[in-house]
């Protein structure tokens, strides 16, 4: 049934429908509405789950590591500093191969103290072994929660469902909320491959000497390599039931495009309008919206981007000392091709600054006018400071 709901509540509703068994989270703006409504579901009894109150994000994830080791479906949500505080346990979750799902609301890290959207928080965690799925709107975020559980439980890796602060988390949109029966068909109860059992005791995560360690790490990578295939299977089943599909990435008018703009999150919606405007003016421009960042779908990147002449990557994040993070990853994916397009790196919308239609158009024209990209990223719309 279609309902007008806040992006945060689309997450909570999905978590309830996913029949999550253990939830632990610590409130932080802009994530609070997610855990707040979940605590209400728990309190009113509309969710058959345990809700663990903790004193920090570190403990929230630690508690879920314990719960998930017992083979139950678990969920947490956080943002920004909260995610940073979880860092140690993000590594632990993946290495312990626990299929925990997290909603992560992109917010800048301070100082300057800032509660608005910025992807640097989640992208800083790219090496922890979590699957990362970026969402564009309320519907996608609701659907992706279901998919994330299926996917995580298939490959035994944790999954992060990432969404922009406020533009998505606090925006009310129509969302088609499926009924419980159909969700149950798509997402049956977890069949855990890791499950502590007092009748059959074992120790998990114990000391692993150099002779074993590399194999453990390599095994995580093998599981990561299975993700694209598994995600396709998940999406096929999802589409059959719900008639919606997102893909690891979504190309828009990429087939004949000379310049392709690469965007993520809510900026993709703005960019759709830009592309349509420019196309009607005769510009051969395409849009590639990236949903899956980990594992990074290199093959598809090459497939969609290689034919173009130029690629303009719009990063709402920055890795100090190099460039925008998506641009980095895209360059790395393309560099071994015999011929590949020039990759232009643009930085826009940090700390919640608007990424407007005009700004994206400016990026397009800049890309078109310049023959080759600069070494350093171009920071868009910088104000003059004394």
């Amino acid at each position: 049934m279609k309902q007008v709901m806040e992006g945060s509540h689309a997450v909570s509703e999905a978590v309830r429908l996913a029949r999550v068994q253990v939830i632990s989270a610590y409130p932080i703006t802009p994530q609070t509405h997610i855990v707040e409504s979940l605590s209400e579901f728990y309190a009113e009894g509309s969710m058959d789950a345990r809700f663990l109150c903790v004193e920090s994000e570190h403990s929230a994830l630690a508690a879920l590591i314990g719960a998930s080791s017992c083979g139950v479906r678990t969920f947490t949500a956080t943002s920004s500093h909260g995610l940073a505080l979880m860092h140690e346990l993000l590594h632990w979750t993946a290495a312990a191969r626990l299929p925990i799902v997290m909603a992560e609301v992109n917010r800048a890290l301070g100082p300057g103290w800032n509660i608005w959207t910025d992807q640097t928080d989640s992208l800083s965690q790219r090496d922890t072994g979590w699957i990362q799925l970026y969402c564009e709107d309320g519907q996608e975020v609701l659907d992706t929660i279901f998919q994330a559980f299926r996917l995580a439980e298939m490959v035994n890796l944790p999954a992060m469902v990432v969404m922009d602060a406020f533009y998505l988390s606090h925006t009310y949109e129509p969302v088609d909320v499926p009924d419980q029966k159909r969700v149950d068909r798509f997402l049956p109860p977890i069949e855990p491959r890791i499950e502590l059992d007092v009748e059959n005791p074992c120790a998990l995560s114990q000391l692993s000497p150099p002779t074993m360690f590399m194999e453990l790490r390599h095994n995580i990578q093998i599981a990561m390599e299975h993700v694209p295939r598994c995600f396709k299977l998940v999406e096929d089943e999802f589409a059959a039931l719900f008639n919606r599909r997102y893909g690891q990435m979504e190309p828009v008018h990429c087939d004949d495009a000379e310049i392709i703009m690469v965007v993520t999150g809510t900026a993709a919606s703005t960019c759709r309008e830009v592309i349509s405007d420019l196309r009607s003016g005769g510009e051969k421009v395409g849009l590639l919206k990236i949903k899956m960042f980990r594992p990074f779908p290199k093959e598809l990147i090459r497939k969609f981007l290689a034919p173009a002449q130029k690629v303009a990557v719009v990063d709402r994040n920055f890795s100090f000392g190099t460039s925008g993070i998506f641009a980095q990853e895209i360059k790395a994916s393309l560099c071994n091709l015999d011929a590949h397009p020039f990759v232009f790196s643009y930085i826009a919308g940090l700390g919640g600054r608007d990424v407007t239609v005009d700004l994206l158009k400016e990026i397009y024209w800049k890309t078109k006018e310049n023959l080759t990209p600069t070494d350093e990223s171009i920071w868009m719309g910088l104000r003059e400071i004394d």
Binding site: A95, A96, R97, R150, E153, M154, V155, N156, D184, R185, P188, P189, E191, R193, I194, P201, C202, A203, L204, S205, Q206, L207, S208, M212, E215, L216, N219, I222, A223, H226, C230, L233
Partner: protein, 579 residues
Amino acid sequence: MPKQQKSFMEVPLFIPRSKVSTEINKTGSWRFVSPMFEEKTAPCSAACPAGEDIGRIEMLTAQGLFKRAWEAILMENPFPSVCGRICFHPCENFCNRKEFDESIALHSLERFLGDIAIAEGLNQPLKNLPANGKKIAIAGAGPAGLSAAFFLTRLGYSCTIFEEKSEPGGILRWGIPSYRLPDDILKSEIKRILDSGVEIRCNTPVTKSFMEKEIGYYDAFFIGSGHSISIKMDVYGEDAASDGLKFLYNIRKGEITSINCTAAVIGGGNTAIDVSRSLIRLGANVILMYRRRRQDMPAFANEVEMALKEGVQLMELVSPIGLEKDGKNLLLTLQKMKIADTLSGGRPQVVPDSTKTETLRVGKIFAAVGAGPDKLWQIPCEDKDDNKILRLSHCIISIEKYPKIFAGDLTNHTKSAVDAIASGKQAAMALDILFNEGRDSIKERLSSCKVGDGPALSMEIYMNGKRKSRNSRIVYLKDINTDYFMPALRIIPLSLSPELCIKSFSQVEQTLTTDSAMKEASRCFNCGLCNNCDNCRLFCPEMAVISEDNNRRINFDYCKGCGICVVECPRSAMALKEE
């Protein structure tokens, strides 16, 4: 619901997982500090002159084990119902919970347990030691004498109490008004003491000749005759004033039923308050006159507060000069006083405030400026401290041909019922040590029975009970892990409004109900005591706390000395010691 397709399970899962027991890793070898179970002393129990094991009493009460809780009181004090009503409960002032939210209503709980035992007609359940053939004579059946008899009987002595009045109880029977302590309650508790094997002879005043004749039959003589003689005010016309103590006695005898006039009560001690509150109930308009200020009164503060609530008017800083008859009335002349010195620590000195005097016309004047012992009893004077005299915190032993031991108000600094009970217990222990080990052992042996660092003594410790293993170190709030306790308001027992109180001698407070008693007792931190919460075992990362039938021990093969158990013990019943 459909099962997930097995084809997905091809994803490899290689994780560190071991079936080998970690027992091979004896983590105890890492340890340099060791935890231990070490029960300590609750501050309330050390503050209780009778040294009651309050933390344990409340633990048992919270669990609904009322009979065992009551027995734990009897171990140290034969008067739970009495003390639950009239004790000034210093325990509550020292309650750690007081700094957290509000102290536990310990007096209400003590009364609850005592009243349950009376309602169920329980007999004295504690076993007496086998009779040792020694006989003790006790002068006075007040709280000190009855307590001494109770504890001496427990220790195997044969006791005979000689009481001047027609019934036992002393101040409890004749001095304390029935709105504070009803007859039936007192009688039940005294009967239980007598039933445990104490002989009593009422209407038998101990005179000098009686003593000379009788003393040869006994191995020791306990004198707990109290302060029964009122002190004179030493002013002109004094004979026109009534004696406060005698007035209370006459009320208890049923000889006074109403007084309809303005009455002046002179004094600031508990007797003055009892007289004032009784007068209010008899219909009088009461003015209480004290030479110092309210905060300097030796009367217990809560009693003073009740008196004022009930309508007693207080005149501070006035001292009587004299009184004279004026027809049916009395003229009372008062000297105004002022504070001369407040530096000396104790109560301030007062001096006349120039020549300011005041004369009041009142119907009656009651003197309650203090009481002293009957002349018969020659307490060894302060300066006489040869090796025949042994001075203890609550009694004095004179070891002549026959040991004589003075106790109760005669020797107590604080003239309270519970201090009298404590002195009876101390005397019983001291005599037992004197007979068994000799005079020189008394102080040291008593010291080993201390509850905490004050004078309170424990009979349970003396008789080698479980309490002996406690560390006498007192637990303070900083030792309590308050994360485990939620704030909860103290339960206040139902009580009559002051307007209703003054209409009769009915009890002001009611006994707690079972539910509210358990609820109130469960607020108790049980400072320093293990209540089997099992936190130590649950939190131990090495599973090195072994629990068998609620007895816990530490497996030092695996205890690595992290101290988590000690920190997570909510009530400081564990300690960490360096190895």
